[in-house]
C-alpha cells in the first residue's frame, strides 16, 4: 500500500508515489548543487526537468498507473547522477561501459571530487568538517583533527562557521540517510521540541526534557545561589553555567518551537529519525502510526467538537487562518533554524569538551602531584603496609583512569568505534580495586595523626624588648644558586635525611606593658599521646633578635625516622600600644598570621586556645570574627583600639560609615516621596481628561447615543485600570519605605 500524490511537473500532471517524489526532489536538489557554479544553471535544470517529465509521461502512456520507485530509479539512471558525471566526464564506448558502471556505484565523497569542499558525512566525528578538510587537502583526517584540537580555542569558532557554511556530502548523493531536525508532534508534551531533539541526537527524551526542565524550575524558584561547582571556588564557571542554562532554556525552547517544522508526512518522520526512506521503513512507521491513531482520533474529535461549539457560526472561517503551515515558511527561516541547531549542537559539544578536559586536567594534576610527592613518603608514611597502600592508590586510582580516558578519547578521534571489552573491563576492575585500598590507607594515616600533645607555653625573652619597631623575618638563606625552582610547599629539602617544614602561625596581640613580648607553643600529632609529646619536644625552634629584626628559624626539622606528624609552632607577638611592626615576605612563605584585637586575653586564661590552629586555614582567611585581614610586608601600628596600617589604607572588609548609610537612606526616602507626588499629579490629570471626554460625549446628539455609551464604558475601563495601577504602585512604595 503506497500513497500516491499528483504533482504538476513541467506542465504535466503526474501521479507519483510519495517516496519516489522525495527521491525526485532530492535528485533535483543534488543537480542544483552540482551545477551551482555553471552559468546557465537554471536552464540546464529546467531542461533536465522537462526531460524527466517527458520520460514519466511515456511510462504513464504505456499503461503505468503511477510513477513508482523503480520507474524513478531507471529515469535517474538514464540521466545520470552528479557522481556519474564526475566519473564519466564525457562519454564512453560500449566496451567498457559495464566496468565503469561498477566504478560509479562505488563512488564516495572521499576518493573522488577533490575540487569542492564538502563536509564528509561518512567519516564524521562531530560535523564532518575535519574529514572534509582532510579530503580536500588529501591528508589523513586524524592529522587534521589533532592539529585542530591543538588549536582548540581559535578553531572552535571556525569549526562552527564551517559547519554552517559548508554543504555536506549527503546532499550530493541520492537517498542517503540524512537526519533532519523536526518537532515530533506524536510524542509531544508541549511543542514536541524535546522529542524531536532526542530523535536527532539519539538521546533518550527524558534527558533532554531534564536539560530544559531543571533550569526552568530553577529560574522559577529564583535559586540564583545554587552553585553546582561551588567546591571549586572558581567564580566564573558557575556563573557561566547559570547564565546560559536557566533563563535561556525557556528561550531556546521557544525559539526552537518557532523555527522547527513539525514532522507531518511519513517521509518527514523518517528523515527525523535519520532512517533511509524506503518501502520497509515506511511500512514500519505506518504500522506504529496506526496503533496510536485510534487514541489521537478520539481526542481530535473532541477538540474539534469543542471548537465548533465555541466558535459557532464563525468556525467556518477561523480554522483556515488560525493554523499557519510550517511548510510555508521561507527558506530564510529554515536557514536560521539550521544555524541555531548547529550552534546548539556545538554548544553541547563545547560543554562536554570543557568538562572532559577539566576532568582530565584534574586527574593529571592529582597524578603528578601525588607522584611528585612520592620521595617525601619516607617523611610521612610508615614502612610496610602503609607504603604499599599509597602506591596502590596512586597507580590504580589515579593513573589507571587517566590512561583509560586518554585512550578512549584517542580511539574516538581515530574513529575506532568498537571498544575492546577486555581492555575496558581491565581498566574498570583495576580502578575498582583501588577502592579497597583507599579506606585502608586513610584509616592507617588518620590513626598516625590521631593524638595531639598538650602544649606548653614557652617564652623567648627578647634581648632588646623596648625597640619602637620590630620586623619579623626568616633567616636569610645562602644563595649559591637558585635551587628552589621546583619547591613543593610546605616542604623544603636540605639533605636526604631531613626535611624542613615551615609550619608556623603567628598571632599578633596587644601588649600589656611597653615592651615587645614573644611566646610560642610547640604542637605535634602522633599515634599515641606519648609519641605526640616526644615529637613536640623534638621541635627545635630558634629565635634570634638582631637590632629591630626578629629572625625565625629556617623551619622545623623532620627526619625519616620520626616522620611528619603535623609538627607546628604557634607564636604570639605582643605589640605595645604605639609601636610598629612588620612581617616580611622573606623566607617563611607559609606563615599564618592571626591577629587578635582583644589583646592577651587568650593567654591570661588557660594558656593558649589552640583549637583554631588546626583548621588548615590560610593566614588571610578570617574564621573567627575577632581577627581581620592582615597584609604582609606592610607596617602596622598598635593603637588602643587595635591594629592599624601605618600608611592609613583601610582594610577591605572594614564596615561602612554609619553616617553615610543614614544619608543614603534619607535620600532614598526623598526620592520615593517625589515619585508618589508625580503619580498623584498624573492621576489627577488623567481623571480630568476622562471628565472632559465624558462631557464631550454628553454634548453629542441622541442619535449617537448607542455609540457614546460604548465609548464611555471603554473610557471608564481605562480609568479603572489606571486607578488599579496607581494602587499597586502605592502599595509598592509603602513596602519600599518600610
Amino acid at each position: 500500500m503506497k500513497k500516491v500524490i499528483n504533482i504538476n511537473f513541467q506542465g504535466r500532471i503526474l501521479p507519483i508515489e510519495e517516496e519516489s517524489y522525495e527521491t525526485l526532489k532530492q535528485y533535483i536538489e543534488s543537480l542544483r548543487q552540482y551545477f551551482d557554479a555553471e552559468e546557465g544553471r537554471d536552464e540546464i535544470i529546467n531542461d533536465i526537468e522537462c526531460r524527466i517529465a517527458e520520460l514519466c509521461d511515456d511510462r504513464l502512456k504505456k499503461g503505468a498507473v503511477c510513477i513508482t520507485e523503480d520507474d524513478m530509479r531507471l529515469i535517474i539512471e538514464s540521466i545520470g547522477r552528479p557522481a556519474d558525471f564526475e566519473a564519466q566526464d564525457g562519454f564512453e564506448a560500449t566496451t567498457n561501459a559495464s566496468a565503469s558502471n561498477a566504478n560509479q556505484q562505488k563512488f564516495s565523497a572521499n576518493d573522488e571530487n577533490p575540487k569542492r569542499l564538502y563536509r564528509d558525512e561518512q567519516n564524521k566525528v562531530i560535523g564532518g568538517v575535519c574529514a572534509g578538510i582532510a579530503n580536500y587537502l588529501k591528508l589523513d583526517p586524524l592529522l587534521v583533527r589533532v592539529l585542530w584540537i591543538l588549536l582548540f580555542g581559535i578553531s572552535l569558532f571556525a569549526y562552527v562557521l564551517l559547519w554552517i557554511a559548508v554543504p555536506n556530502t549527503s546532499t550530493n548523493q541520492i537517498g542517503s540517510a540524512r537526519k533532519r531536525l523536526f518537532r515530533d508532534i506524536d510524542a509531544k508534551v508541549i511543542g514536541g521540541v524535546c522529542a524531536g531533539l532526542s530523535k536527532y541526537f539519539d538521546i533518550r527524551v527524558r534527558y533532554i526534557r531534564l536539560l530544559f526542565l531543571v533550569p526552568s524550575i530553577l529560574l522559577v524558584l529564583n535559586w540564583n545561589h545554587f552553585h553546582l561547582f561551588q567546591f571549586w571556588e572558581f567564580d566564573d564557571f558557575p556563573n557561566f553555567i547559570e547564565l546560559t542554562f536557566s533563563p535561556s532554556a525557556v528561550f531556546v525552547y521557544i525559539v526552537l518551537w518557532l523555527v522547527l517544522p513539525e514532522a507531518k508526512t511519513t517521509a518527514d518522520k523518517l528523515e527525523m529519525r535519520g532512517e533511509k526512506v524506503d518501502i520497509n521503513s515506511i511500512k514500519n512507521t505506518i504500522q506504529t502510526d496506526m496503533e496510536g491513531f485510534g487514541k489521537r482520533a478520539q481526542s481530535w474529535g473532541s477538540t474539534i467538537y469543542n471548537k465548533a461549539k465555541t466558535y459557532d457560526a464563525q468556525s467556518a472561517q477561523t480554522p483556515s487562518n488560525a493554523v499557519p503551515e510550517p511548510a510555508q515558511r521561507g527558506g530564510c527561516l529554515h536557514f536560521a533554524g539550521r544555524t541555531i541547531i548547529i550552534l546548539f549542537k556545538a554548544f553541547v559539544y563545547f560543554i562536554l569538551g570543557v568538562i572532559t578536559i577539566s576532568i582530565l586536567a584534574a586527574l593529571f594534576g592529582v597524578g603528578i602531584v601525588t607522584t611528585g610527592l612520592l620521595p617525601l613518603r619516607h617523611f610521612i608514611l610508615e614502612d610496610g603496609a602503609h607504603n604499599w597502600y599509597a602506591y596502590a592508590i596512586i597507580v590504580f586510582f589515579i593513573w589507571v583512569p587517566v590512561i583509560g580516558i586518554v585512550t578512549a578519547i584517542i580511539r574516538k578521534i581515530a574513529g575506532i568505534k568498537k571498544a575492546n571489552v577486555w581492555v575496558r573491563g581491565g581498566f574498570w576492575s583495576l580502578w575498582a580495586l583501588s577502592w579497597i585500598f583507599i579506606p585502608l590507607f586513610f584509616a592507617t594515616l588518620t590513626k598516625s595523626f590521631s593524638k595531639q600533645n598538650d602544649p606548653m607555653e614557652q617564652t623567648y625573652t627578647l634581648p632588646n624588648a623596648k625597640v619602637n619597631y620590630l620586623e619579623v623575618s626568616a633567616e636569610p638563606k645562602p644563595k649559591y644558586y637558585n635551587h628552589t625552582w621546583l619547591k613543593i610547599e610546605p616542604f623544603t629539602f636540605l639533605d636526604q635525611d631531613t626535611v624542613y617544614v615551615r609550619n608556623l602561625r603567628i598571632r599578633i596581640v596587644k601588649a600589656a606593658s611597653d615592651s615587645f613580648e614573644v611566646k610560642y607553643v610547640r604542637i605535634s600529632n602522633g599515634k599515641t599521646m606519648q609519641e605526640a609529646e616526644r615529637l613536640a619536644s623534638l621541635i627545635n625552634f630558634d629565635l634570634q633578635q638582631k637590632d629591630s629584626t626578629l629572625i625565625l628559624d629556617k623551619g622545623i626539622a623532620i627526619n625519616k625516622k620520626d616522620k611528619f606528624r603535623n609538627q607546628h609552632v604557634i607564636m604570639t607577638i605582643a605589640v605595645p600600644v604605639g609601636k610598629r611592626f612588620k612581617i616580611t615576605h622573606k623566607g617563611w612563605a607559609q606563615v599564618n598570621v592571626r591577629v587578635n584585637k582583644n589583646g592577651w586575653r587568650s593567654e591570661t586564661h588557660s594558656g593558649f586556645t589552640i583549637n583554631d590552629g588546626f583548621e588548615g586555614d590560610d593566614w588571610d582567611q578570617n574564621i573567627d570574627t575577632e581577627s581581620f585581614d592582615y597584609d604582609r610586608d606592610v607596617e602596622y601600628i598598635m593603637t588602643p583600639t587595635g591594629l592599624e596600617r601605618v600608611d592609613g589604607v583601610k582594610s577591605s572588609d572594614d564596615k561602612e560609615d554609619p553616617e553615610q548609610l543614614k544619608n543614603r537612606l534619607e535620600e532614598l526616602k526623598r526620592e520615593s516621596e517625589q515619585i508618589e507626588n508625580d503619580l498623584k499629579k498624573t492621576w489627577e490629570q488623567k481623571q480630568k481628561e476622562a471628565d472632559d471626554l465624558k462631557k464631550q460625549l454628553d454634548k453629542k446628539g441622541d442619535n449617537l447615543n448607542r455609540n457614546s455609551t460604548k465609548k464611555e464604558s471603554s473610557v471608564s475601563d481605562t480609568v479603572k485600570a489606571f486607578a488599579f495601577g496607581f494602587d499597586a504602585i502605592k502599595l509598592l512604595v509603602s513596602r519600599f519605605q518600610s
Binding site: Q10, G11, R12, L31, F35, E38, E39, G40, E43, I44, D47, I48, C50, R51, A53, E54, D57, K61, S78, I79, G80, R81, P82, D84, F85, Q88, D89, G90, F91, E92, A93, T94, A97
Partner: protein
C-alpha cells in the same frame, strides 16, 4: 602513464565535435542525439548532454526552437547557427587531419625502399 585519464581526455576532446556533427544533419531533439550516438556505439548520459548544449548555445554555436508536440508541452529542438556551421567545418578539418595523422602513425612502418 594513467591510461584511463588519457582515454577520458580523448573522449572529452571529440564529444563536442560528435554532438555538433549530429546537429549539423538537421534540427534535432536532445534525446534523439543520445539515440543517434547509441547507434554509433557511443554512450553519453543526458545529464552531461544538457549542460553541454546549454554551453554551446551560450557560445552562439547553437540555437533552439520550441516545437509543439502531440502530447504535453512544447519541446526544445536544437539547430546550428551560422557561427556553429563555421566552427563545425573548422573542427571537421582538424579532425580529418588528426585522423590521417593518427592512422598514418599507427600503421606499421613501411621500409623506405625507394631511396
Amino acid at each position: 602513464m594513467d591510461i584511463q585519464n588519457t582515454q577520458s581526455q580523448m573522449r572529452k576532446g571529440v564529444l563536442e565535435f560528435c554532438i555538433l556533427s549530429i546537429i549539423n544533419r538537421g534540427e534535432v531533439y536532445p534525446s534523439d542525439i543520445i539515440d543517434q550516438m547509441k547507434v554509433a556505439n557511443l554512450h553519453i548520459l543526458e545529464g552531461t548532454l544538457y549542460p553541454l548544449l546549454t554551453r554551446l548555445k551560450n557560445a552562439g554555436l547553437l540555437n533552439y526552437r520550441w516545437v509543439e508536440s502531440v502530447s504535453g508541452p512544447p519541446r526544445k529542438y536544437f539547430v546550428m547557427t551560422d557561427a556553429g556551421k563555421e566552427a563545425f567545418s573548422v573542427l571537421l578539418q582538424t579532425w580529418n587531419d588528426m585522423a590521417n595523422a593518427v592512422s598514418l602513425l599507427t600503421q606499421p612502418q613501411t621500409p623506405n625502399t625507394e631511396a
